[in-house]
Symmetry: C2
Subunit: 86 residues, 2 copies
């Protein structure tokens, strides 16, 4: 059975980020995850505070971190999200 | 035209939270939002660090804060999320 863990990472310092910039940066994650079991599933940004929240899935924290770092997105904080309600 | 803004709020100090606790707390938001234009759309939790991330929508920050506070969920941090990629 494949184990899929969910994660959120947080970046600070993205003040003034635009939709185009967010899409472009997310595309870098999509490129970096090719050939891996990692999926960057979405991201939210608050241009006012400069906070950026990225959601990802993968077999381990190390695996998703490696992809994000490769894309040039070293995050300030990482959290595993085993619990979710919708 | 109805304006719908998206928000994320963050709680600290939820170490050891369980799926049942998260569902029960989320239900309090669903109850508190009745009769308002606010929707708490989901939440993620990391029992290890004790971080809890709630997603919501509504006409204003004040409106969603009022519902969350009414449910007994005064958050540590609030962010508006005008930008999103999937």
């Amino acid at each position: 059975m494949e184990v899929v863990m969910k994660f959120m990472d947080i970046h600070s310092g993205a003040k003034g980020i635009t939709k185009e910039m967010l899409e472009s940066e997310h595309q870098k994650d999509l490129n970096a995850q090719k050939g891996t079991d990692v999926k960057f599933t979405g991201a939210y940004a608050d241009p006012k505070s400069g906070k950026l929240f990225c959601l990802s899935e993968g077999p381990s924290l190390e695996a998703v971190k490696a992809v994000h770092d490769k894309a040039g997105h070293e995050a300030d904080e990482w959290y595993e999200l085993p619990l979710e309600v919708k």
